[in-house]
Symmetry: C2
Subunit: 479 residues, 2 copies
């Protein structure tokens, strides 16, 4: 690694290779860990092109990194090399309110973009839960989505155009600025969700939508998870168009009550549902229809409000769930494994129940919650990370869950991507896609320098793929 050369490209202060800094860049929000050789913080497209040319000629891996908030290991530099920290490139290049698009650099933080759009009455809606830190580049790499995807869709629906630096340093300008186009392969949409393996995103043109004038949230409690599941299925089948439809199971409820003292009723399941728009009558109609459906299935409506403060209060249990799970029990860790599969709507409740059964069978604690409106089920495995037996149980639980998901026509990941953690299950489920992906990857990155050994090239066992971050006992390593 010619660190001096990298310093000459981006400036010495933007190249880091001290061990403590490399350590930080060796992890993201997944369970994985691997050390890069050097961290480079480019400030321009030209610098990135020069870095790519150098890396390609020397066969050095490049892993582009946003906030490192990915939960499947996207930003973990499995083969060392260069981590390209994109956060200096955080300029909002232009906002065109009349043409309803904006252009941004990849390091722009999602919430910062939405704050800048607000004065224009516009929003960029596919934001994931991590929008406070997640960067647009990372979201595109991951095809991110969040609680409002039921109405507003995922990142793939908002990327109109991309500038991408290819593995050999070539810069390509892809896509358009217009709402529709039928003008050649949608390569920019192929880049969305390619997890940094096909090119380095250096600029994005994003579709914007009007901010809703009103938003109404309602909450329903259920004594039986199955009733909540029936309600979700009926809400979808009724033609309702919620802007959010979230489920929390009993374990999730207990977690926020125990660790955050939320005081939620300890029922079997809670559904949060929301409608938004410009006209109150239409929102009232949606909310009332959804409430009636919940009541029909023995749900109890405990709260309904248009007020931002009240909505925030009612939803805080769900909003803070991830933090609550992380503190579920002293010495426990909240691990992202089999944590974001998507299943057909009609399978949501069955899937939640199945997760509980599997967790019991393999002696781990698992919770089920998620964006039911998009078919996304979230789970976390809660356990003492230093108990090796629990990891064995977790491994088996993960396998059993993915077998179930595949059987009912679901997908390995609805939101968090494949990278390392989900690769074994995904490879089993999607051999056809893998074959085509391998052909495309070879065509665009023949030297395999861009985020190598992820997705179809990832190790077959996530558990031994890298050292596991949570284990204090370091006996178990990647070897």
């Amino acid at each position: 690694m010619d660190v001096a050369r990298l310093k000459s490209i981006v400036g010495a202060q933007h190249v880091r290779d001290a061990i403590d800094e490399l350590y930080v860049y060796g992890a993201d929000a997944s369970v994985h860990q691997a050390m890069p050789q050097v961290v480079v913080r480019p400030g321009s497209i030209d610098e990135i092109r020069e870095i790519a040319r150098y890396a390609n000629s020397e066969l050095i891996p490049i892993v582009a990194r946003g906030a490192g908030s990915g939960m499947s290991g996207h930003a973990v530099p499995l083969k060392g090399g260069i981590v390209l920290d994109m956060k200096r490139m955080n300029r909002i290049i232009e906002i065109k309110p009349d043409d309803m698009y904006c252009k941004v650099e990849p390091g722009v933080v999602d919430d910062d973009l939405n704050r800048a759009l607000k004065p224009y009455g516009l929003s960029y809606p596919p934001s994931p839960a991590s929008s406070r830190i997640a960067t647009i580049g990372g979201e595109i790499g991951n095809n991110a989505s969040g609680i409002r995807s039921v109405k507003y869709g995922a990142t793939r629906d908002y990327v109109l155009g991309l500038k991408v630096v290819l593995a050999d340093g070539e810069l390509v300008d892809l896509g358009a600025r217009t709402r529709v186009e039928a003008a050649g392969y949608q390569v920019h949409r192929l880049i969305v969700g390619s997890e940094g393996t096909l090119g380095i995103i250096v600029e994005a043109t994003l579709k914007l939508v009007p901010l809703p004038k009103f938003r109404c949230l309602s909450v329903a409690m259920f004594d039986k998870l199955e009733d909540a599941g029936e309600s979700i299925a009926d809400i979808i089948a009724s033609g309702c168009e919620p802007s959010m439809l979230e489920l929390m199971d009993d374990i999730a409820i207990k977690a926020v009550n125990t660790t955050l003292n939320m005081g939620l009723p300890e029922v079997d399941a809670i559904i949060f549902f929301e409608a938004d728009g410009k006209v109150k009558e239409a929102i009232d109609y949606e909310i009332t229809t959804m409430q009636e459906i919940c009541k029909k299935h023995n749900g109890q409506i405990t709260a309904t409000s248009y007020d931002l403060k009240e909505r925030t209060k009612y939803f805080s249990g769900r909003k803070k769930l991830f933090a609550a799970l992380a503190k579920y029990k002293d010495g426990y860790a909240c691990t992202s494994l089999a944590d974001d599969m998507a299943v057909p709507y009609t399978k949501m409740a069955e899937c939640a129940r199945k997760i509980h059964e599997i967790a019991d069978k393999y002696g781990v604690i698992m919770t089920a919650y998620g964006h039911c409106g998009s078919g996304v089920m979230h789970t976390k495995i809660l356990m003492n990370p230093n108990d090796k037996e629990k990891w064995e149980g977790a491994k088996k639980a993960v396998e059993a869950i993915y077998d179930y998901v595949d059987k009912v026509g679901g997908v390995t990941s609805g939101e968090h991507g494949i990278a390392l953690s989900k690769a074994p299950a995904w490879k089993k489920a999607r051999p056809d896609l893998m074959k085509v992906m391998t052909k495309i990857k070879k065509a665009l990155d023949p030297n395999n320098i861009l985020n190598p050994d992820k997705l179809m090239d990832a190790p077959d066992d996530w558990y031994t793929a890298t050292p596991i971050r949570y284990m204090i006992d370091k006996e178990k390593t990647a070897g």
Copy 2:
């Protein structure tokens, strides 16, 4: 060409090579024409796989064809070979109303699908104007969209999954059945809009949406095109969410009045706008807001209705425009050249005016109309197709229009695809994309058998690319 072998694969009655039938299959709705060697009508995926294996081993081109309603030459078999007529594969495999998706074979006609969905209160909305004949497979190949794309998006937003036969006969199952996924490259969305050059679509899983309960149409007349343009820009900028926003210029108005006796006021421009949804108050709000904007810009509201019959009547001028243009003047032809560019919203009126200026300059008649809500401007060149000077004028007009479109940040095609007619302008505008496309094409179809010589591989001059369909004087041919 081993016709006997093809007959043994699909049955003798499904293989056609009589000259009159080949002639029919040599054209689509574009100006182009080229003869295939044989037409094959497969009835199953296995038959298609066998045909592909044979064609790939013998380096015979395959052009998959739906209704042949494409306007840029997608289905014209430029290098002869096999035309694969997909219309026998017209089964709606399943409709899953509760999970909001359906699975169809590629030969299903768009309107037939929507008729089948209606009893479930569902729709597949990206339908183009040709939905009466267009097949789902063709629409996917073209990334089709139509008058409601402003609210409902294009085909690319509805394809959840695809089964595709690759050039070598391999069958791959891509995408998912769930609303969101972050599970590997979005290869199925790369196939959308690839114009038959990457694979043969043999099954599609499509996202469905609820049918609106109410739809309201309103019509505004303008004495000045610029006022109509300002209204369109303000409607978009206001956060209005029309389900349709259409413009007709003076030539288009004259055409429907002259040829169809429509009796529309002969103003400079008409805007049709529509809102739909479940709640009347919300639709009223949208319609009133749009009407106020039109009035502010000197527009006169001449009609407003929720009634299907009345809406059909008011809109019939726009609906029948294409037919009217085809009969504009005795001996004239209505040619699809530079006919569907997309430009930023704020450039719609300027673009329409520019089209008139360019038409005048080059001695042809051009009209401007389109789906302003999506930034799509439609034009047609009306002329005597046997007057060679007019073709010279048309060629220059097309070039001038695309130079303008590129300059204002538009794209060569918003809806009708590139194929042959748009390829010269598109190649000039999108050299970066072409380079990446070439790499992907080589990776997936190394022998270049799938719809060869289209898009990046199309001839540099559309005028000499093939014989021109409308010319009675056959002196001008592809040579």
